[in-house]
Symmetry: C2
Amino acid sequence: MTVSSKGTCRIDFVSIGKQVDVPPGATLLEGAQQGGLIMVSACGGLGKCGQCRVTVLKGRVSALTESESAILSQTSIDAGERLACVTRVQEDIKVDISSDALISGPRLQLGGDAPYMKPAPLVTAHQIQMQAPTLQDSRSDLLRVKEALTDVAGQSPSSADLAVIRQLSPLARENQWHLTAYLRNNELVGLAPPESSPLGVAIDLGTTKIAASLLDLSGGKELAVSGALNPQIAYGEDLISRLSHARQNPENGQTLAMLVRETIDRLIGDLITRTKTDRDRIADLCIVGNTAMTHLLLGLPVAQLTVSPYVAATSDAMDIRARDLNLTVAPGANVHFLPGIGGFVGADHVAMILASRLHRGDRLAVGIDIGTNTEIVLFHPEHRMLTAASCASGPAFEGGHIRNGMRAASGAIMSVKFTEKGLSLSTIDHADPVGICGSGIIDALAELHRWKVINPSGRLDKDNPRVRTRDKGPEILLAAADQSGRGREIVLTQNDINEVQLAKGAIKAGLETLLAATGTSIEAVREVVVAGAFGSLLDLKSVLAIGMFPHFPNASYRQVGNAAIEGAKMALISKNARRDAWNIAVHSTHLELSTYPEFNRLYALAMQFPNLDKNAATVWK
Amino acid sequence: MTVSSKGTCRIDFVSIGKQVDVPPGATLLEGAQQGGLIMVSACGGLGKCGQCRVTVLKGRVSALTESESAILSQTSIDAGERLACVTRVQEDIKVDISSDALISGPRLQLGGDAPYMKPAPLVTAHQIQMQAPTLQDSRSDLLRVKEALTDVAGQSPSSADLAVIRQLSPLARENQWHLTAYLRNNELVGLAPPESSPLGVAIDLGTTKIAASLLDLSGGKELAVSGALNPQIAYGEDLISRLSHARQNPENGQTLAMLVRETIDRLIGDLITRTKTDRDRIADLCIVGNTAMTHLLLGLPVAQLTVSPYVAATSDAMDIRARDLNLTVAPGANVHFLPGIGGFVGADHVAMILASRLHRGDRLAVGIDIGTNTEIVLFHPEHRMLTAASCASGPAFEGGHIRNGMRAASGAIMSVKFTEKGLSLSTIDHADPVGICGSGIIDALAELHRWKVINPSGRLDKDNPRVRTRDKGPEILLAAADQSGRGREIVLTQNDINEVQLAKGAIKAGLETLLAATGTSIEAVREVVVAGAFGSLLDLKSVLAIGMFPHFPNASYRQVGNAAIEGAKMALISKNARRDAWNIAVHSTHLELSTYPEFNRLYALAMQFPNLDKNAATVWK
């Protein structure tokens, strides 16, 4: 039994390249969390939802539980599949974690100099000892709180939330007039028993997944993480489908809002249960999302967002009572929404900029958040201005509009390598292939390009032995029916290639337009920050090989994973970070790409595949 | 046909002593409203609820409508009874208005020098012309509102209510980017089509009745009034019953809150319908009530209010979002709650002081708000301090704890005069007597005292021929079974007399304690202000005859009716009035009467009936 001399077991998450040391008996989920890997866990770690499947490749773990036997098929169990939340480590092990179970990529490495990880929270806690009332002194309970706060905090709150006043009278008597009071600026927003330090929740509200993190507001420590799929997916995988659904009638909008609010509240419950704390201690929250997600969560009208010129109802920073979003936390707690930039470029992009500190360096930098909408930003250090744009890169990277496309779930082809005689695939969970996801598609195109199976315009060479022709045109066979997990062939068609060209062309043309419209030469760019949970799973070599970005000859690349939630955490625990986010928004200009006269020409050119030698010269740092 | 030469008809509300001139064809309800008489009208003037019954004593009016035939009995119709909302004036008439249909007494005569009838509202309206968005300018809609407001108001709101942002995008497009914006301090609280002046609603939330008034916020003009019974009556006529019900479990509290919120929202609907305006224009509200009523409306805990030392959760001035009280008005509109003083002395007493300007004179003054709880206040002009107390005068004045007691409704004996050989009664609506209400009971006691049927201790003289003795003791027969509207005798018992002694003694002892505890001589009091809807119906001569108040030899009396709603209106339209209300609360001390050592002795003495000669000397001004 290999337990290290320090009495810990090492878990090697092989597909992620992350290793953590945990005490024997820790669950794999705890290990993943320690490593900053946010796993889907809809049931809150009770072994019931089956979302946190992992494959134990090597090493001994606790015996299969009854709930696992009930949830996992015998085939899965034979392949070493387990539920991370109930499987306990007994020695050093190797684990393969399913991408579908993973809410975000590895945590952003911020380094020790991150300015906002030093907590300066807006909500502060104060221990108060109230005077008990007598017949001679029958002043109200609230007045006693104000008096006691003046004693300890040197200030009396100018207002108190009604829901907090509702708590006050019984709580003060239960705790012998000794309470913890939470103040937000000059307002009383929560009350709790003595010595209850305030907690906060940061949420990245993604189109596909929602990640939540519980933090100690005073110390800034992360106490737990959780995640779930965005339930609005039932109404469309892409934003436009959901916005169209919401604009049809108010009830649809309410349904979409209600679904996502319920999921967020459930995630909060999960965080609370796992840390054995109380919802009333959550005194502040911060949610970041793109413009459309924020509008749907808040129940804002979306009609004007779906037609040109695509205008947000608001992109201001906002504080909304958490209860107005049906979130059960401290009664007066607010949800802080960071400001957006304009159009579809929302608060999540501001949070990404905040966390990556793109805007605080002295180098001309480009930021790219890859997704169905890809947000891009250019930072000019001389005048410290940011210019941001949104590229309609479309759903191809999520498997949409692709014949056998799928999201990054079990059985998805995630990587493709051509060999002399055929090809080698690797799939998520090592399952038999059932489709191809974004990273697999990009890999496949890079290989087709490298092996000259396509020409620079993306046309398949019908004379190439890898290409076969069917009724609908030329295509590549990735997996034969008998190799496939679904009993049918998996192919990549000429049409699929064209879809990816549209997507990658949109991003490249967007970046070129951003440079041209701001008079920036491509040589001036010194740093490229690639963000997004999807962005962190990509093989950047393939991305550059297919020409998804222009060739930046002097730039170094930084892959930062889901930076949006890191920005949300910073804003949660630091009012300085909120101020900086406001600064980012104020110093940002939104560029509507279609207004640039050259955009269409650049777009047409950007769909081409680049010169291979040129890309080979890319400095890979 | 007697229509005056000016082309108007005079309506003489005989029981109220109020005369108004209206155009021929006006309804009696419109006439009553013009005269400041707030009538119950649950159906909004549709002739359906039957609550606005009046008796036409003299003069010609419009023919009986179908709805009246359906609602009124033939006996009522023969007696001249009509519904005020559908009966139209055709010449000068005399009308008797049922006290039960009346929400408040005659409007307080404030005189031309009332300081807060000059509007200085917190909510201001601004006409804005927003810039329409283009592809080159896709800033959010809210940013456009802020920009336009900076143009016209010189300031940009620092925040905007979420519910207002929800209105913005469609409303701006429907109105070609031209809107009315309502600002409250620095917050955007409402939006409306162009040229929509803001409205406000003032509400007196009484234990028995709720009165509402719609005002033009900019001009201060009263546009409509409405009223309804407090539906919480189903859970107890007195406050203590309702508080006890609410403290049993949270659901009870929610039911009581919900009932009163629904009624207020219905009254707002009534005001809106009658003035043909829109709920979205109601941009501010002010509600006054006693401590218990406010706690029940707001859903605050009440357990601590029902046990010694009777502490309010809060008595601070507050602004609550109207939507948090389920009121449908402009989405960001607030309800302002005036501050209370302490214990059961609540915001309605502060509003009464504000409206009567008791605290702004240079005379030592006493204010008395008569009800189930009677609030009393003493104003010392030298140090401009107010001392307030609450007397548990009990339900006797409302007919409670009285053998044949009843509220002031149709058939209630409202006045009693003894004659040499018997007695003469007058009843509300001139109906056959069915019971006796507060003013009748006080009248009866004054007569019993004047005719020496009782001794100074309140004992009935069994040898007096007016007194008869039954199994339960001595009693006075007010109406024989065959004279009664309910076929049974109506009597006043020794026990009834004792109940009234307890009630009037509590008020007198409260006033004497207030004087003694503040070192004030009875001769120093120069003014006595008697307030409350009930207070304005009383015959003050009888009140003084039974010794409900101490004998103030140097005081003049002022009967001001329902001053609380007048105070609420002032606070609605003037931030200066809110500041003054805050001053009243800050300069007020709450005195818990039971803490004064002499109180019990004073109480025992105060139950006695006073020397008749002494009272006869009272200066009646």
